[in-house]
């Protein structure tokens, strides 16, 4: 299994798309957060470290989420398409070991991407004269990476049975629903009947990614951290990962 995980990670990291998107993401974040910013929110100029932290983390979260979806999208369908599955399965690797390893490989590639954003956040902290926040920034990135890990696992699991574009759309929808969890929660409260029940189930299955991001932000700003959303996302991540034990394609 380690060989499969290592191979998947290696394939993802060697991809050109990965490097291009990661570079663009880091560049945008540094330009927005460390330049002479004219960023306005609700008509007020956003400046100062405390105000810029959520902005920096939002950009990091968005780009890393996008990367997690892109990195995880093709791994499993490619294996079936080019039939590399044959030479793996004839060696006694069980389908669940195979799918689990590919998913974990994708997750590690997404984690690696998050760690590369750590460098950008460190530059951001130093630019605002807060070098003492380098360690908290690392903790912040670790918490943020839970979102990427969840997205990566979800897209990987969907791609076991569904075509690439379905997995991609599913990934983006999960990300959007996760970030807008609070808004959707309010909307669900206004719904009635079957619609309300369906919305509640959906919201239960999709973690509150914005709440996780908020906890990461709190680590940097020194505000109290609520472990609830983080633990809930980890639990859902575990459930999604466990699906790799039962899902496989009929024909390889």
């Amino acid at each position: 299994m380690l060989a499969l995980i290592h191979n998947t990670f290696r394939e993802r990291i060697r991809g050109k798309t990965f490097h291009v998107v990661a570079f663009i993401g880091m560049a945008i974040m540094l330009l927005v957060t460390t330049g002479d910013s004219n960023l306005m929110i609700n008509g007020r100029k956003v400046s100062g470290f405390e105000q810029m932290v959520p902005v920096a983390l939002s950009i990091t979260g968005f780009v890393s989420g996008l990367l997690a979806v892109m990195v995880s999208l093709r791994t499993i369908p490619d294996e079936f398409e080019r039939k590399t599955t044959h030479l793996v399965l004839v060696r006694g690797i069980k389908p669940w070991q195979y799918m689990f390893s590919l998913t974990v490989g994708n997750m590690l590639a997404s984690l690696f991407c998050m760690l590369s954003f750590y460098v950008s956040l460190v530059v951001f902290c130093v630019a605002y004269g807060r070098p003492g926040l380098i360690l908290p920034t690392f903790l912040c990135i670790i918490v943020m990476s839970i979102n990427s890990l969840f997205l990566s696992a979800a897209v990987s699991v969907v791609s076991i049975r569904a075509p690439v574009y379905v997995a991609g759309v599913a990934g983006i929808l999960v990300y959007a629903a996760g970030i807008l969890h609070g808004v959707l929660d309010t909307l669900a409260d206004t719904a009635q009947g079957v619609g309300a029940a369906a919305a509640r189930i959906l919201l239960f299955l999709i973690p509150d990614l914005s709440a996780v991001q908020q906890q990461a932000s709190n680590i940097l700003t020194g505000a109290p951290v609520d472990p609830g959303p983080v633990l809930a996302t980890l639990l859902l991540l575990y459930l999604v990962l466990s699906l790799t034990f039962v899902l496989f394609r009929k024909e390889v």
Binding site: L2, A3, E11, T85, H86, L87, V88, V90, R91
Partner: protein
Amino acid sequence: MFKAFTSMIKSVEVKALKILECCGLVKTYGRTKAVDGLSFSVEKGEVLGFLGPNGAGKTTTIKMILGLTRPSGGKVLIDRNTKTGYSPETPYFHPFLTGHEVMRFYSRLQKLDRQTAGRQIAELLELVGLSGAAGIRVRNYSKGMLQRLAFAQALLGDPELLVLDEPTSGLDAVGRIEMLGLIGRLKREGKTIIMNSHILGDVEKVADRILIIVNGKPAGMADRSDLAGAGLEEMFVKTVGGAGHACADT
């Protein structure tokens, strides 16, 4: 005691000389029967040639033997301890890996220790003439080079049973002669080989027995003595019906 490739396999003891036995194999895709009641056995140390027109069900049969697809009926019996190597018809590898990395990857999946793997990889790449190209990414390999690499990875771990699906496909004349020479050498070393091909001459050169499949059904079985008088081509044309099948010796 026996490896259950399908849910239908029963723990029946395979006779000592037989390394593999297929009983009444059936595979259906919707209403189409790709394989229809195929029974045969393979004895230790022999080369069994699978011959048949395109779409006869040869590759489907091989996939059932390897456990890559579940038979719709019948059973495959193989000793659990039999080490099997497989060289696919269209070699498919991770394109970002070099030839050496491909071999290393599969050796790790087979849990070969580092020292054994290193030795075998060097020997096998030398054997198939890819030592000089071991550091090149496989996306830059020609079809013939991929075929050789597929053959090399099938031999990792010194398997007793080799399943070769169109092993000479994509090779030039010299490569084809070398490949058939290698198969002959492995046969002399006592390996059991199932070779699937649509090239009559290749099968005739190396096979001890030949199973002809047409429309998923066994259409004939011949051994070397049967072929002594009439050539394989003549026999094949008689069995298959000649015209309309792309099986000429090329």
